[in-house]
Symmetry: C2
């Protein structure tokens, strides 16, 4: 058991033992199938095997954590939707009727909705976890989105929350988000941590037209010009938001507890990059689920040497891409745990399995 450590470390994370890879590949090659014929599921099985070593991987209980927060930069009209939609969508998650609920049901995953910093006083509600840092961030185009102390507290809160949940029996952690304006924050984090031109990081978000993207780029460029920060915690504090900070914390928690963490799309990947810059070992625990249609995602994936498993043109967020990858993790774990060897099949020595 690792206890949460004080900032800036938050928790201790051990890298996986990469020397296990050829051993796991050998075990998979011995299964009753042509070598390599399960393609990328085999890569995923190897990753899960390394993460869970010396235990066999488990993949029964999956929970998607949806962190929601508002963004001061939304006042600059960087999204086609008003900021109040953040709160409305959270109500939909709690009512079980949003897109992510539909996909969570299809994936057999539990949903955990976290108020990381919604700009509203939500009444206590079953299923809503209150970890509000503040009622939204400040406007990052004019001033730092949050203090570094707020960034630390947000990460630490998620580390504790997700570590506790894992200790309660979660096998797979998935992360997603809701926050009107947060593709702008993610674009700024990508720009600064991946050293990419801001113009390559800003995309259509929730559906801007060309003029909208041009305006969003101007706002983002203004924010970028305001600061020269490059340290991960400082970049996070400068550009926001609270849900990104908490997703970074969730990644660290999963890595600290040696569980896979399924990363959703652009914004979740920006959070993963923050986590990986804080703790490079955390990369070993990240499963990048899908290739988002949002422009800057490609840069993040390349920066973290990640090849996602799905390419379905999703750009909704809310953990939807991560959820669609959960059955792949279940299959990959089963390759290691429930799949007979070819030698046993040919020898006819099989017992009936569950």
């Amino acid at each position: 058991m690792h206890a949460a450590l004080p900032a800036p470390h938050f928790c201790t994370i051990d890298a996986v033992d990469h020397a296990l890879e050829p051993i796991l590949r050998g075990r998979i090659d011995a299964k009753a199938k042509p070598p390599g014929s399960l393609g990328r599921l085999e890569d995923l099985a190897v990753q899960l095997g390394m993460i869970w070593h010396p235990m066999p991987p488990r993949a029964e209980r999956a929970t998607v954590f949806i962190f929601a927060a508002d963004h001061g930069i939304a006042a600059e009209s960087v999204s086609p939707y008003p900021a109040s939609v953040t709160r409305s969508m959270v109500s939909a998650y709690l009512a079980g009727c949003a897109g992510m609920n539909v996909l969570a049901k299809a994936a057999g995953a539990d949903v955990c909705v976290v108020d990381a910093g919604i700009d509203d006083d939500l009444p206590p509600c079953p299923g809503l976890i209150d970890r509000k840092i503040a009622r939204g961030t400040r406007n990052a185009s004019r001033e730092p989105a949050m203090t570094t102390d707020q960034a630390r507290r947000a990460i630490a809160a998620a580390v504790t929350l997700v570590c506790d949940a894992i200790d309660g029996g979660i096998d797979i952690v998935a992360i997603g988000e809701m926050g009107i304006g947060n593709t702008t924050s993610a674009a700024l984090i990508t720009h600064r941590l991946a050293a990419a031109p801001i113009a390559d990081c800003v995309g259509r978000g929730a559906g801007l037209d060309a003029a909208g993207v041009a305006h969003k780029l101007a706002v983002a460029a203004q924010a970028a010009a305001r600061t020269t920060a490059t340290a991960p915690l400082d970049v996070l504090a400068e550009f926001g938001g609270f849900e990104i900070a908490m997703m970074a914390g969730a990644v660290l928690a999963a890595a600290a507890r040696r569980r896979p963490v399924v990363i959703d799309g652009f914004i979740a990947s920006a959070a993963a990059l923050v986590a990986v810059r804080l703790h490079p070992e955390a990369r070993d625990y990240c499963v990048f689920s899908h290739r988002s249609a949002e422009r800057g995602h490609k840069i993040l994936l390349e920066t973290m040497a990640a090849t996602p498993y799905l390419d379905l043109g999703l750009r909704l967020g809310e953990g939807t891409g991560a959820l669609m990858a959960i059955p792949l993790l279940r299959a990959a774990a089963g390759i290691l745990t429930d799949f007979a060897d070819l030698s046993d099949v040919l020898a006819g020595t099989l017992g009936r399995r569950s």
Copy 2:
């Protein structure tokens, strides 16, 4: 209720009403998400909506039908595995410990194993459905793999089997196969029905090296040169096999009963092409699950204007790719049935859903 009709029709199939497409797109655009943000899942939702119309789509109960049979052409060393592996793998499916069992569990799908023509006298076994047409096909490089009467009987048997299963409550039909040598049959069907050069249709199968592929191509070319057949039933009879015939029947059955049929990889797609050439309306019911690493699959997909949902480098067969797509169908159906409209979310008029 459509009864199975005599050959060559087998069953009656109605095309879906494509005029529903813009109506369904409009309904999906009204959901609480940016228009288009669920990408290809929205395309799948539209297809399921058209298939199930006027009922809402269901996607709870999924069954993968694994049809197994032997191939006389396997005597020509077109596979790196001996023909006896067909029977051994069927034992593994029944023992619940093969790759497809692992993936069926991950997808929440039932497994139905059908002896379409295994070259062995299998003892009666719980879970094995005996629809054996013969103990393997004849060697298609020298003579027709089966008679057209056998082809008809194989298709009709699967139509009856799968129609009955659907009447028993299956929402999603998935098809897969096992049969050492069957990539050669599928390559020949592709060559003849898609009018593609045989060299473009022959691939590595279960893992041939370059010399093995060259030999397999020579054997396939000998089979192709033996006949000028182009009618789908004749092509099927010439090149085999019984499992391909039964998969074609399963496609027809699903279409006759207005259920989606999830097509696995190269060999299942060759069967789908046979079905579509017999009944072009059947295409509307086919969901092409994944892009196989087997070479000729691309030709089949292009011929049927299909863009698969997954690209995981799978080349195992056994329905594994189809199984990995089943959660996508569940998600797509849920988009139509369980996802609130944006107007309701913004108005705050949501009731708690299951």
